[in-house]
């Protein structure tokens, strides 16, 4: 930590230390590369089912999840690789899960949309749009009843806002003042439907109607996400009840691997790519001297190694034994 003394200035400027910035950069690069590789492996027929890549949205996961403590909890939707990696789940085991292998975080039973690592309070990966929102409220209610000083973060997309469970969950959370941070990644589309065609409301305004604070933030700026998430977590942790963040972002890739993307133009994607969160942080760090090209190339190489290793690990990991098919439908012993 002492090395940071020489890099004091940028930290003072935005409340984030250079070490943290490097962590953010590394994590975002890892997620980016991991997702590209996963897409590649899908095309090669190594991964099947639905695969929803997170490319473009990295600042959301990294900026927010790094605010959380170990004792805090995370629920997310099916576009969950980025959140898992930001939470520190082992990339090897995440890749193995996409492969459906025995060493996967969910033993190969969950797949891309259902990553779980309860040892890290990472509770999934939910594929039914908005179905996990009440679960997060319930987790927060339980920690609150036990006075555990924990905050639960609940991540979902803009398309989920039209679901009835969004409304029920926000109301319950606010009514019972549960320590939950609702984190909406507004990437402007739910599959092929633009948000303006699926919602007659401003998301943050709607959230405020439930008497909880809500902020719309730039989800392509990891530092802004981090700072805003800090406020949100502090609010929830000190007993203020739920907090709502709408992070404006964009997904670069198709909704899932089978989407022909008929609903948006190449130029729109190009436009958003110009605001890339990794480029933005990299530039800021280069400008402030928190990073130089050598270090950046080191990080690139490191990420490449991590992702290659993940693929190798996944390739080598065994298939779950057929004899396990009937395991864990039920918990065997009572309490």
């Amino acid at each position: 930590m002492s090395a940071s003394a020489t890099r004091q200035r940028p930290a003072a400027a935005n409340g984030v230390t250079p070490e943290q910035m490097e962590t953010f950069l590394h994590q975002m690069m890892l997620i980016r590369r991991f997702e590209e590789k996963a897409g590649e492996m899908y095309t090669k027929g190594k991964i099947h089912g639905f695969l929803h890549l997170y490319t473009g949205q990295e600042a959301c996961a990294v900026g927010s999840i790094n605010v959380l403590e170990e004792r805090d909890h995370i629920f997310t939707h099916y576009r969950d690789h980025g959140h898992a990696l930001a939470r520190g789940l082992d990339p090897n085991r995440v890749m193995a899960e996409l492969y459906g292998k025995a060493d996967g975080v969910s033993g190969g039973r969950g797949g891309s949309m259902h990553l779980y690592d309860v040892s890290k309070n990472f509770h999934g990966g939910y594929a039914i749009v908005a179905g996990h929102l009440p679960l997060a409220v319930g987790m927060a209610l339980a920690t609150e009843m036990r006075r555990e000083d924990a905050v639960t973060m609940c991540i979902f997309g803009d398309g989920s806002v039209a679901e009835g469970e969004f409304h029920e969950s926000l109301n319950l959370a606010a009514l019972w003042k549960t320590p939950v941070v609702f984190f909406c990644e507004n990437n402007l589309y739910g599959m092929g439907v633009p948000l303006k065609e699926s919602l007659s409301a401003n998301i943050a305004t709607l959230a405020k109607a439930y008497k909880m604070p809500a902020a719309t933030i730039n989800g392509m700026d990891v530092i802004e996400v981090y700072r805003e998430m800090k406020k949100a977590v502090a609010h929830a942790r000190k007993g203020g009840g739920p907090y709502f963040i709408e992070a404006m972002t964009y997904r670069y890739r198709a909704h899932s691997m089978s989407d022909p993307e008929l609903y948006r133009s190449k130029s729109e994607i190009a436009e958003y790519r110009k605001r890339d969160a990794i480029e933005r942080l990299k530039k800021a760090m280069l400008d402030s001297g928190a990073l130089d090209e050598t270090r950046y190339r080191e990080l690139e190489a490191q990420v490449e190694r991590e992702v290659d290793e993940a693929v190798e690990f996944a390739e080598r990991s065994p298939q779950p034994a057929l004899s396990t098919l009937y395991d864990k439908v039920y918990v065997e012993a009572g309490q």
């Binding site: 190969g108 319930g138 918990v331």
Partner: protein, 325 residues
């Protein structure tokens, strides 16, 4: 032993579990100030306070989801949905999240939740409020489904539900709430899931029911004995998942005839499961096809006469038995 009504036996079970285990808490629609729409939770708010007996908004999906989330956190919530009819709004939460998270997470997550609801017709509540769909939930691996027919079973099975680490759908027939019966007094009176009980022994035919329909079966057995000198065995399944087919098969191998009595519609209903399993496991013992006495294939009418005509009756059971002899 002490005599009590079903609703009081259920309340006793909830009280004892609230006292025994501080992870237990209750949430549901009108379980607090109102006292529960069938008075099962009456007085519990006063005794245990608002944190552990929690009135909820009318938001079935939300409150079941909250229960599932709390169970994931290691609590032991009981969610009351008033009636099975409203559980349709929480269907996804029940059959996806509650039922499957243990499996999908490779055992990392467990969901020790009890979801209570009332079922059954016969009170002129009309088509949307008179469902008997115990079998619907029994179809999903990952769930347990319990449907008591007597106060003692109600208490013993409900207490057991709180000791089970799996999601338990606990379904009470509205017509049973006022039933009186002897209930053992000891603290740890539990009834294991998956053990049918033989309510009446007999040689000539096996009548199989659960929850409300058990009582039609018993009355039919009485009629058969009195009027036809037919000696019927009556089996109460008590839980649909796990399902105790051993007891059923043993009985059928003795009687060579079986009638399944169920309040739900026959077409595509759970009675078909029991009938099929009897055929599969006792084919050579059967002297006649297994009969299914169920509700008529119509939405439940409001009018009293039509409703009675739509529901299975003891006469229907008697008729089915006579037809197979």
């Amino acid at each position: 032993m002490t005599e009590m009504r079903m609703r009081d036996a259920l309340r006793e079970a909830l009280r004892e579990e609230l006292i025994r285990d501080d992870r237990v808490f209750l949430l549901g629609e009108d379980i607090g100030a109102y006292g529960g729409s069938y008075s099962v939770t009456k007085g519990l708010l006063e005794e245990f306070g608002e944190a552990r007996v929690r009135d909820t908004p009318i938001a079935e999906s939300g409150i079941v989801g909250v229960g599932v989330g709390a169970a994931m956190a290691g609590m032991r919530p009981m969610v009351e949905l008033m009636t099975i009819n409203f559980s349709f709004l929480a269907f996804d939460q029940i059959v996806n999240n509650a039922a499957k998270l243990h499996y999908m997470s490779n055992g990392q997550i467990t969901i020790p939740i009890v979801i209570r609801m009332a079922s059954g017709g016969g009170s002129q509540l009309g088509a949307t409020h008179s469902h008997s769909l115990e079998g619907l939930y029994a179809h999903f691996p990952g769930l347990k489904v319990v449907c008591p027919s007597s106060p003692a079973d109600g208490k013993g099975l409900l207490k057991q539900a709180f000791r089970d680490d799996n999601p338990v759908i606990f379904i009470e027939h509205t017509a049973n709430y006022g039933l009186k019966g002897e209930v053992p007094e000891q603290e740890d009176f539990l009834i294991e899931f998956g053990k049918a009980s033989i309510l009446r022994e007999g040689r000539d035919v096996t009548l199989i029911g659960y929850s409300g329909s058990v009582h039609q079966a018993v009355r039919a057995a009485d009629l058969l004995a009195e009027q036809e000198e037919i000696d019927a065995e009556v089996i109460d399944l008590r839980t649909l998942r796990p399902l105790d087919m051993d007891t059923v098969i043993e009985s059928v191998k003795k009687t060579n005839r079986a009638v399944v009595v169920e309040d739900d519609w026959r077409f595509g209903g759970f009675a078909g499961e029991i009938a099929s399993q009897i055929m599969e496991k006792a084919f050579d013992w059967l002297d006649a096809p297994v009969a299914r006495v169920c509700s008529k294939d119509v939405p439940m009418p409001y009018n009293r006469n039509l409703e009675f005509a739509a529901l299975p009756s003891e006469e229907d059971v008697v008729e089915a038995v006579l037809a197979m002899l």
